[in-house]
Symmetry: C2
Subunit: 247 residues, 2 copies
Amino acid sequence: MEVLRQLHERKSVRVYEDRPVEQDVKRQILEAAIQAPSAGNMALYTILDITDPDMKAALAKSCDDQPFIATAPMVLIFCADYRRWFEVFRKVAEDTRAPDMGDLFLAQADALIAAQNAVVAAHGLGLGSCYIGDITERFEYHKELLGLPRYVVPAAMLCFGYPTAQQLRREKPPRFRVEDMVHENGYDLKKSDAMEDMLAERSGKSGEELQDWLRRFCGRKWDSAFSREMSRSCTAMVEAWCGKEIL
Amino acid sequence: MEVLRQLHERKSVRVYEDRPVEQDVKRQILEAAIQAPSAGNMALYTILDITDPDMKAALAKSCDDQPFIATAPMVLIFCADYRRWFEVFRKVAEDTRAPDMGDLFLAQADALIAAQNAVVAAHGLGLGSCYIGDITERFEYHKELLGLPRYVVPAAMLCFGYPTAQQLRREKPPRFRVEDMVHENGYDLKKSDAMEDMLAERSGKSGEELQDWLRRFCGRKWDSAFSREMSRSCTAMVEAWCGKEIL
């Protein structure tokens, strides 16, 4: 089945051919993205299409210094957006409540679901893509850079481009097994506790080699500056969204 | 293009034929879900496969009283899950930091991206699906019902089943236009402020008819008990996740 095959095949691609993404191809990706399901068909998100090279360069710097962002042929930022609806709601219902935590999570979900549609569509059109989670860092800076008003916050950034031949050949990193990722009728602590076995199975490493890898991975992904910054930044984002005074 | 066509075609389906989802079909959906991209290939989520009729019935009640959940042939709950990794990290790095806000948003993103892969795969296999955002309500109850430990929280619930003939014929509710959903190089306040025009364009309503619809929609989706509960519940979820003491 074509669609299943493509979902299996798709892997993150960070190295692109020096070739622009055609306008009609971009259009098809955006059209597919906005066809995604959304809560109450409210489409609680806005897609920022970053075409300005200076803005791409700034994002490459602010998003953990990843130069490939600056030269990526297509860069989209999916923002959770409740501003659009809230401005309409407060007109028909004066003194109504302000957007709050539930609305933030709902809008984040809408944005991410649409983003994944874009990823799937892009792969179908021969494009590689890569999520950049670092867009949720440095909230204040990105808010200013992207001109985000209140109740609009970044959920995910995506880079797109035609993969190089080397990227096409590169093997997709293996996933965990369905047996380990899926629990029946509630959370299975025993499965969760078997994480080291899952990692051993997936990586082929064991014993001291696995422990070494784990220590390094932990240092890179957990005990790391970017990951502390992400939490600081997301906390600032939540506070800005949920603050009591309506501006 | 097959994939694009399917992304356009897919709509939410809440009425299913009385026919189980075959085990191999479920398996293919789960396999496609876990092939989704995730931050650092960490797969920060767990999928709960709800097969127990009593548990489905309980969820139908707790998720805004939607009886179709109780009889849906397949019910999956995608949970953000940092427990699995955190338990490993704290073994290799004693006294390390606790999961925090950034980790919550990252894991939520992983869960939602995988959920949308499941939706796309299911559609390709002839199944209808429907997101149930209400799983983020009643945090304490769902945590208990699903046996969720700390650092595991619901991100999205999905119901699946073969659509009835009537559902297959039903038109997909129209989306907004790409021109309105996509802003170039930063947030465009003017586009955002044109929300009433977007709604008029999409619904074919205008003037008093549109205002009436808006007032009713606002009452249903915004000034509503479920939406206040979602914010209360998500706040409790955030507090439980980000609380300072590590259990």
